[in-house]
Symmetry: C2
Subunit: 800 residues, 2 copies
Amino acid sequence: MALLPDLGTEIVIPVCAAIGIVFSLVQWFLVSRVKLSPERGGESPAKNGKNGYSDYLIEEEDGINDHGVVVKCAEIQSAISEGATSFLFTEYQYVGIFMIAFAILIFLFLGSVEGFSTKSQQCTFNKEKLCKPALATAIFSTVSFLLGAFTSVVSGFLGMKIATYANARTTLEARKGVGKAFITAFRSGAVMGFLLAANGLLVLYIAINIFKLYYGDDWEGLFEAITGYGLGGSSMALFGRVGGGIYTKAADVGADLVGKVERNIPEDDPRNPAVIADNVGDNVGDIAGMGSDLFGSYAESSCAALVVASISSFGMTHDFTAMCYPLLISSMGILVCLITTLFATDFFEIKAVKEIEPALKKQLIISTILMTVGIAIVTWTCLPSSFTIFNFGAQKVVKNWQLFLCVCVGLWAGLIIGFVTEYYTSNAYSPVQDVADSCRTGAATNVIFGLALGYKSVIIPIFAIAISIFVSFSFAAMYGIAVAALGMLSTIATGLAIDAYGPISDNAGGIAEMAGMSHRIRERTDALDAAGNTTAAIGKRYAVTFYLGFFTRLSECSFFKDLMLHLSFDSLNLFSGICHWIAALVSLALFGAFVSRASISTVDVLTPKVFIGLIVGAMLPYWFSAMTMKSVGSAALKMVEEVRRQFNTIPGLMEGHAKPDYATCVKISTDASIKEMIPPGALVMLTPLIVGIFFGVETLSGVLAGSLVSGVQIAISASNTGGAWDNAKKYIEAGASEHARTLGPKGSEPHKAAVIGDTIGDPLKDTSGPSLNILIKLMAVESLVFAPFFATHGGLLFKL
Amino acid sequence: MALLPDLGTEIVIPVCAAIGIVFSLVQWFLVSRVKLSPERGGESPAKNGKNGYSDYLIEEEDGINDHGVVVKCAEIQSAISEGATSFLFTEYQYVGIFMIAFAILIFLFLGSVEGFSTKSQQCTFNKEKLCKPALATAIFSTVSFLLGAFTSVVSGFLGMKIATYANARTTLEARKGVGKAFITAFRSGAVMGFLLAANGLLVLYIAINIFKLYYGDDWEGLFEAITGYGLGGSSMALFGRVGGGIYTKAADVGADLVGKVERNIPEDDPRNPAVIADNVGDNVGDIAGMGSDLFGSYAESSCAALVVASISSFGMTHDFTAMCYPLLISSMGILVCLITTLFATDFFEIKAVKEIEPALKKQLIISTILMTVGIAIVTWTCLPSSFTIFNFGAQKVVKNWQLFLCVCVGLWAGLIIGFVTEYYTSNAYSPVQDVADSCRTGAATNVIFGLALGYKSVIIPIFAIAISIFVSFSFAAMYGIAVAALGMLSTIATGLAIDAYGPISDNAGGIAEMAGMSHRIRERTDALDAAGNTTAAIGKRYAVTFYLGFFTRLSECSFFKDLMLHLSFDSLNLFSGICHWIAALVSLALFGAFVSRASISTVDVLTPKVFIGLIVGAMLPYWFSAMTMKSVGSAALKMVEEVRRQFNTIPGLMEGHAKPDYATCVKISTDASIKEMIPPGALVMLTPLIVGIFFGVETLSGVLAGSLVSGVQIAISASNTGGAWDNAKKYIEAGASEHARTLGPKGSEPHKAAVIGDTIGDPLKDTSGPSLNILIKLMAVESLVFAPFFATHGGLLFKL
């Protein structure tokens, strides 16, 4: 028996969730202290210097009115926020209809398993007991499905709101120094991370407790019904990721193709009509989409672990604490991430741009080390020293130290994969530098080298995945896989904080450019430099020091935009590797749970049913990628036409006299992405249903295994290829080394080749790559939920 | 019992093989009647017109001395032939050493299975009988391995010799008309096709009969030993394809990057030092490499079918005719292809360029229809009406009509996949036109659309593969798969003729350009046209008619070169789809044979051993592609440096006064490709050995299944993406439609974008894509040969 009594578990989990929520509210409060209204400065100018800040600001000192800039920032922020809100609401309307229809489908399909009978049935795994009827599972699955979808919506929406709340504040804080800007952006990321982690845990916990009122001792039925939560979260994530991914890339590519290429104006130039849509895209794609995605992973792996655990020995003996092991790991994760966050925001201070990247990496390392200790504590206090796990027809004895190793292997392999991704996509290392070098001979060699790099970057992650799957599978069968996934997901709050940090600071840069801040500051500093004035105030010194450091290198770029580029570095790339890793594990865990639930004992490749599933499954990621890439292309084309139209028909737009019609571009992106997300969404949602109904569970197992092993490779290679091209371009633009300077500057032939690579990489790394994660996870969780139906009524074609 | 007596089988097979060889010699003789020596014309000028031809030649009529051109063509041809011979000899030296080392390895590994004992052992599948010792299998496997390698060398080498013999002759014949040129090129292809098919059949047949002298009734041992033939053929094919692929693309990319891009001289311009190397590359890569590849497929699928058949009911009852069913199918194939060839060379005459493409397609269709009848004849005369097949531990009853359907499904699915490939890669259809259209917005959209097209083109072929695998698997287990592969391979002679036709006419175009033929002809025809002279002789009329047809469109291109481009159309693309299809089936058949031989009864994805194999196996094609793409890049870079050096250091080269040093470029390509083929080769050859020895047969099964399902998708998408880019470029260049003309002409921005796509596609479609076929087949056949060793001594890591 475990050390922690059941009552303790009942208290610990909600308390940890509450701590997470409170912590995130505190962070929000700290971010909100940066004021966006210029009035405040006007009200009490004598209070403590100027504008409510104790630090000096470059712009004010020069006598330039600060109000104008702040008002402009606030304006832009609210435009971005409105655009994002309007997109998400439109998306939720369509997805809402789909969700209701799908909920009805779940109810009908699962209810039909026993012909909508209300009588209790013999349990599947414990023949002596009576279990609740399939109709109950149908009802509760439907409820938990809707609950999962709703929680996902809340997670994504709040994330977006926080991000759009924080971006202009980050811009304003950047005037005071890199440290301030960093903390604002990072805190905002943390708000999202903690809210999402705590929210997901709390809703799941409450749902389990409420469902238990009905199910009582039938934990098998209870946790089967809970899987709907994973499906709901993941379905929402699909549309969030795909829709958001198409939105962000359509706006981005559309803005670039007309603005940068045809009209030769800089990125994020306020004259570009698609510029607001572009910034909205970052928030709905990279923030809301990713939030939904990670929430989905979290919900799915928890559900997979719970459903496997429900048929283990502690499921049978009703050891509630051991049963809640996955949730306790997540609870511990919230505490660990809280401490980790303090390292970034309070224990150390960022003083220079070059400290940012190590600080973010340190976050990952600190959380991993702390979490290892946390997992040990949870394992030895909550698990019996030995228990049995159901392993496809057999029972497997597992020791608690073995399960500890399973969780750790997931956690540490994730870290390794993250750093391998970083190695292949960061321009600090030779792979990206080689790609940049290949731009010398033109775009073609750049693309060839980039593709080769992406292919190559798959090798180590796959070995890491294989080893950790082998270890956790050998120790604790599918339960081992599920908790390995949770191991990585336990530090989700920190991961999300790092990941959200990127788009927030990217947006902040865009706002700076649009508000026209950079030019004034540049003039100001040029004058300052010429006069040899070294008696600047502290705030100014900060700004000028890091500005001058950059200015020599980035003489052609606008200041703030580039600062933000450097602030945002490539955290997304590092984390994208971890996302693929999580997706692979979660998908495998769900696959295992599906197989258990569908009562399949072997998935033999040597049977034709399974083999055709395998090869068709391996094809699905290609089909899906083709669809999403085409979708981005079509949506971008519509955007290009609109932007061209505006440049051609609005007089004085290019000269900056007239304001472009931002709203139409936002609307076009919204409509196009909603329309274009339907075919890929349908592919993912319908495949398990069609295969399960017509070909049965064996073929469906093959499809899941095939799409998993093929999809994870394409996802990793696509993301890394895209990331490498992106950073190869930045490498040339930054010109930080002797080598980089021979390739640049901006506008040189190698740079043009690098820009082509970057544009190709956009849909790969921001649409196809991340969406593939959802493809493999969602098909697995959908199969899991419908498993009883497929096992009873599926395989129509083979019954003929 | 079958209708055909055993004696009949013993006669029919060698007779068919002999017919094939005689037919190919006849074709060779017909090609050789086109004389390359100018003397002949000088000897008997009065005999029948001029220069030994009865047709008038444009150049002669105009009084221009024909001798110069013929001498030049002969010179160029011998340079190409010498370069190709020297490359192949260098390659064979290195590969020879490897082959001997590997042969020793085979002997040691297989001999060690029973500790080099010379005593007979109990048979695996028929416990009552005694079988020959493992040592005998070791010796005979080694012998058949060397035999397979040698036959592959002969096939590739003869193919190359014929192709280099034919290319200048095609050039010269082109002066007389498109029909003559077509027939010369096609006959040469047929020489290769028939020689290869007949040779492969004959050697295999003889080997079986010789081995039978020792093995007697132990057919199980006999056909196990014969599998070495497949491994030998396939190992050679690996190096042929990879080495040849790197050679051809390094020379091509190197020549283009300096010649076309930097120096702005046309393709195949004789001033380009890499031009001979480029043409050599076509012969060693597309001809010798592909010849070895298809021979390997043929040997492998025959071996797979034979080894599975040896443990079937007719293997047990020693029904020799039924046992030889795979060889009889191939014998019938030779006869069918012979008739089919006559349709192209004798029954119909090609009179215009636009008739060529349909004629080649008709070849495929005719051979498929005739072969269907042929298969029916073979099936009903050679097979008992019902027999049993060993199906992973169980016995399966198969009817002869079911086996007929298995072979047919292979044959017809291959045809369908060929035409789907054609649809996605030919510029006559919308997919390629869309890709061409995307060049409007630059290279980036071109690449995105091309990649999406490649992904999309996987869908139908994979469904076709899945359906035919399901049908043949359900009917006759792995034997069904093996004969399905043979179904497609039975028409290999026609397939090869079509496939070899492409590079031969491509080379012919190159020779025309290098010999400077085009310019003279163009002037001549311009004058002719201006004078309104319509009283031209028949030969001239032909030439002028089709020339003028093109001239209006291709005004900027040199005439002959472009004619040849159109002659060569995209037969390679159409056939590449079929090659992938064959590779998938062959690999699966070998996989099945391996599993049978290693006595595995299930390959359960739900065991960790198999799953890690599956995911690592799915990664191997990415690793391999990364290697080959990088190899092409490195080899091309060396070529670029040498070509630049020559342009910079040889005075008068650009002006055409000095001759470039072709030989050095040939040497660089040779050395680079030999060196660069080692790492990918090692990956393929070592993986099964390492996995088998350390992880055992279950993990190896997973690796084979994973690499098969993942590799076939990458191969198809890479080939089709490359093919589509190639044809999108040609579409813009040809400007045949209103739409195409808005994108062109050569040198326009869309055309430049299309050229970038084409260059990216080169390594994809000519190196990675085709090499992947070998990867999946070779790993399977190697596993099959070493299966007894792995089953006995393998899996060291899990034995610890």
